[in-house]
């Protein structure tokens, strides 16, 4: 959409009240654990205390004898013969012959109370044969590492690779060797990032019910209930349409709630307990031990640069472990690593490596933060060595529309240069810095995603509208959909109610992931509204006795399209809706698609830190997020996404990590020891919304949910270097590590 057309919008770009605000502040909103049902049982899960162990025997005799216990399930209660990702999901839900990580489920029990279920779980006796384990990615890729799942490698892995390499990728273009020869400065460094958890406040929770007839219900906290349906039915061997899944309100997901972890257990227990509903709520410890953190990474990056800052060539070799199952986001990390730069020559190599850790899940721009940490750190280091301003170096090499991306295709409309220029002009860059203080800059990128989308909209008898969407509202979706629908229909924002509906009410929807929901469900809502407008114009034309083509829709009313169409007063949406029962029946609109025209999003972050030379503690003094939103439908939510992404990235950079002991057990499975940033750790995070409209969306939307977590890792490392002279190449940059670097 052209920029001047965007200026004529009345509602898009405003900041109305949040439709879910009152429910959330009064406790009326119902989250996963808030759902109960008559006759409900409670479930508890028995988990492996070993990182790698053969399951010799499971004896549930004592547990089943306990008064109140109604069902026990093990892997023997699940169907056999699954393959590929379905097998991975089943194996992760409940271990088969071997427990693959500390926390891996091996049995589950349902009882009449939570306490009885927990006691019964303690009474289930499991005999293990402990096997050698490996948790570190660099150890796991060694040729003599314990082989975790022989035969798990896919066809991409050439013969002769170490046993835990399960996927391999190489891509690039240009003459990399010649590019390095052409450079004035060539540097190669190695970097590591540790696994971090999405850290959503609401633990996983569900209520499942499955009868012997194979028909079931599930209420669940999820980012995508059609994914839950597909995965649960695959794991349990039942028909998809027989399971109706209703999403609860959701207390955060960040990618970690796009898949299943324990949901099929409630259904399996219910089926065994005569169809009684079974509630399963994870503790925080279970969340950290057994649900998807992101991958940990070990990365080598080499860059060639001219004295003027021009990049001549780059090379990245990344190794990532995503737990005991394939799918660490090493491919996405490589795609994003050099994405902001014009690369005359570039080479990427990636290894997806198994380790005895929980199955990784998506986490906000999966892979991109790791790649950015490595590349943006090295670009900063080289810029400083050459005496160049780090923003100017990025501007010199920044990709623009039509440039070939480092990963191959050419970019469409993008706003990286606009972000860099907005950052450069921001007052934060003029703020004076004191002793032990430093400023760091970095950029980040995420593709964004379209995905299967189904939306329905119905006009009510009074001219208000209700929109049914299938993408759970994690970060303001209902407000954004209401704004776009109201804008299109020409009615007040308050006249639109948006409902996130269950799987029986719409066609298949992918989850709220890939920064797609405002883009894709928004596009669907606009198209559905346009369809309804077409019908309303037709109803008005019939009343007036003119052709429907001679009617136009303006400000929420049908009116003759010009003087030749006839003289009739505008017919409002309320007037048309009030008569719809006698003029042809209900008026609605629907849209189903896998939308193309996804707009990628770049961002630039600038951070000022102060490092205490006595303790090594890093304090964030100022933080600026600049990011291209295409068009901010509800700017407050967009700013919230920017701030939330930055806060999570700050945690990843400074504090968060999965710490494993020599025994392969997770040492910090509670929030006291796994430290996410809290409000007192952070300043108010400043935001600038850059708007380079995405031509692929009716209101110019780009996804904004993910890019914001990418730049903080390198930006903070760069700031610490500026403050102290110490270059940190291994996250998190804890006080102990920083202090050690200062003393080195």
């Amino acid at each position: 959409m052209p920029k001047d057309e965007l200026k004529e919008l009345h509602l898009v770009g405003t900041r109305p009240d949040r439709p879910d605000g009152l429910d959330k502040v009064t406790g009326r909103a119902r989250y996963g654990a808030d759902i109960s049902a008559p006759g409900m049982l409670w479930a508890a899960v028995v988990r492996s205390p070993h990182a790698h162990a053969r399951i010799l025997k499971i004896d549930s005799t004592k547990a089943e004898a306990l008064d109140g216990v109604k069902a026990v399930v093990t892997r023997a209660d699940f169907p056999t013969g699954l393959t590929g990702e379905d097998w991975n999901l089943q194996e992760n839900t409940m271990a088969g012959e071997v427990a693959l990580y500390d926390g891996h489920a091996v049995a589950a029990v349902a009882a009449t109370s939570a306490l009885i279920a927990q006691e019964a779980a303690r009474l289930i006796e499991v005999d293990y044969e402990v096997l050698p384990h490996v948790t570190d990615v660099d150890d796991a890729i060694k040729p003599d590492a314990p082989a975790i799942r022989p035969g798990a490698a896919d066809a991409s892995v050439p013969e002769g690779m170490p046993p835990n390499v399960v996927r391999y990728i190489e891509f690039g273009h240009g003459d990399v060797a010649a590019g390095f020869d052409d450079a004035d400065l060539v540097m190669e460094k190695s970097y590591k990032t540790e696994a971090t958890h999405q850290g959503y406040i609401e633990p996983h929770a569900c209520l499942g019910q499955l009868g012997e007839d194979g028909r079931g219900e599930m209420w669940v906290c999820t980012q995508g209930h059609w994914f839950i349906r597909r995965m649960c039915t695959a794991v349990l061997g039942i028909e998809a349409a027989q399971l109706r899944v209703t999403p609860s309100e959701i207390g955060g997901g960040f990618g970690g709630k796009t898949t299943i972890f324990m949901e099929p257990l409630s259904l399996a227990l219910s089926r065994k307990a005569g169809g009684r509903p079974v509630k399963l709520v994870m503790s925080r410890s279970e969340v950290l031990r057994a649900t998807g953190p992101t991958a940990s990474a070990s990365m080598d990056v080499k860059i060639g640069m001219k004295k003027d800052g021009s990049i001549t060539a780059g090379r990245a070799e990344f190794r990532m472990q995503g737990g005991a199952f394939p799918d660490a986001p090493v491919d996405m990390a490589l795609y994003c690593a050099f994405a902001g730069y014009k690369m005359p020559a570039v080479e990427h190599i990636g290894y997806d490596v198994l380790a005895n850790r929980p199955k990784c899940a998506a986490y906000r721009a999966p892979g991109s933060p790791m790649g950015a940490f490595a590349v943006e750190s090295l670009v900063d280091e080289m810029s400083r060595d050459l005496g160049l301003d780090p923003i100017d170096v990025r501007l010199k090499n920044a990709v623009v529309e039509g440039d070939r991306a480092s990963y191959g295709p050419k970019f469409g409309s993008i706003g990286l240069v606009e972000c860099l220029e907005a950052a450069k002009a921001h007052p934060n860059l003029q703020a004076p810095l004191g002793p032990n203080q430093g400023r760091g800059v970095a950029c980040g990128y995420w593709f964004n995603h379209g995905g299967e989308t189904s939306v329905s909209m119905a006009i009510s008898e009074d001219g208000t509208a209700q929109v049914s969407i299938g993408t759970p509202d994690i970060g303001g979706l209902r407000a954004s959909i209401a704004l776009m629908t109201a804008e299109t229909l020409g009615i007040p924002y308050e006249d639109v109610r948006v409902n996130v509906v269950e799987t029986g009410a719409l066609g298949v929807n992918e989850p709220t992931h890939g920064s797609r929901a405002t883009f894709a469900s928004g596009l669907g809502a606009v198209e559905a509204a346009r369809q309804a407008i077409g019908e309303m114009c037709k109803r008005a034309a019939n009343e007036w006795g003119i052709d429907a083509e001679a009617v136009e829709w303006v400000d929420g009313a049908a009116q003759p399209a010009g003087p030749n169409a006839g003289k009739f007063p505008p017919m409002t949406i309320a007037e048309i809706a009030g008569k719809m029962g006698s003029t042809g029946g209900p008026i609605s609109g629907h849209h189903e698609s896998v939308p193309e025209g996804v707009g990628a999003s770049f961002g630039t972050h600038v951070v000022d830190v102060e490092v205490d030379p006595e303790t090594g503690r890093t304090t964030i003094l100022r933080y600026l997020v600049v990011q291209d939103a295409g068009r901010a439908i509800h700017p407050s939510y967009v700013e919230g996404q920017y701030q939330g992404g930055a806060a999570q990235g700050i945690g990843w950079a400074l504090n968060e990590e999965y710490v494993y002991g020599e025994d392969g057990r997770l040492q910090n499975p509670i929030f006291l020891d796994y430290r996410v940033p809290v409000a007192s750790d952070l300043p108010m995070i400043d935001t600038v919304i850059v708007e380079v409209p995405n031509p692929g969306h009716p209101y110019g939307v780009r996804g904004v949910g993910e890019t914001g977590i990418t730049p903080p890792l390198p930006a903070i490392a760069n700031a610490i270097h500026a403050a102290t002279g110490a270059r940190m190449r291994h996250l998190p940059m804890t006080p102990a590590k920083v202090l050690a670097a200062l003393k080195a």
Binding site: A155, G408, N448, G703
Partner: protein, 80 residues
């Protein structure tokens, strides 16, 4: 014929070629044609890939493709 750009580790299935010519008018014909010409690619393609046409991820198998389009095969794109 449509020129399809592959990621370089696939060249061991395509006799070393990083760009291969496929007779195709849709994404489905691109993918089927790749498997027919280079059967070693079958498990990779069946495992899930994204087809990018002129910088935009194709929405499905019926998306049209023409010789003047720039076509890239990429790992399946996803998000959090």
């Amino acid at each position: 014929m449509v020129a399809v750009n592959l990621w370089s580790s696939l060249t061991r299935f395509t006799d070393g070629a990083r760009v291969v010519e496929i007779e195709a008018t849709t994404v489905a014909e691109v993918l089927n044609g790749l498997v027919t010409a280079y059967p070693g690619l079958a498990p990779i393609i069946e495992g899930g890939v994204s087809v990018v046409i002129d910088g935009d991820v194709a929405s499905g198998r019926h998306t049209p493709v023409a010789p003047e389009n720039e076509v890239f095969l990429m790992q399946r794109l996803k998000g959090g």
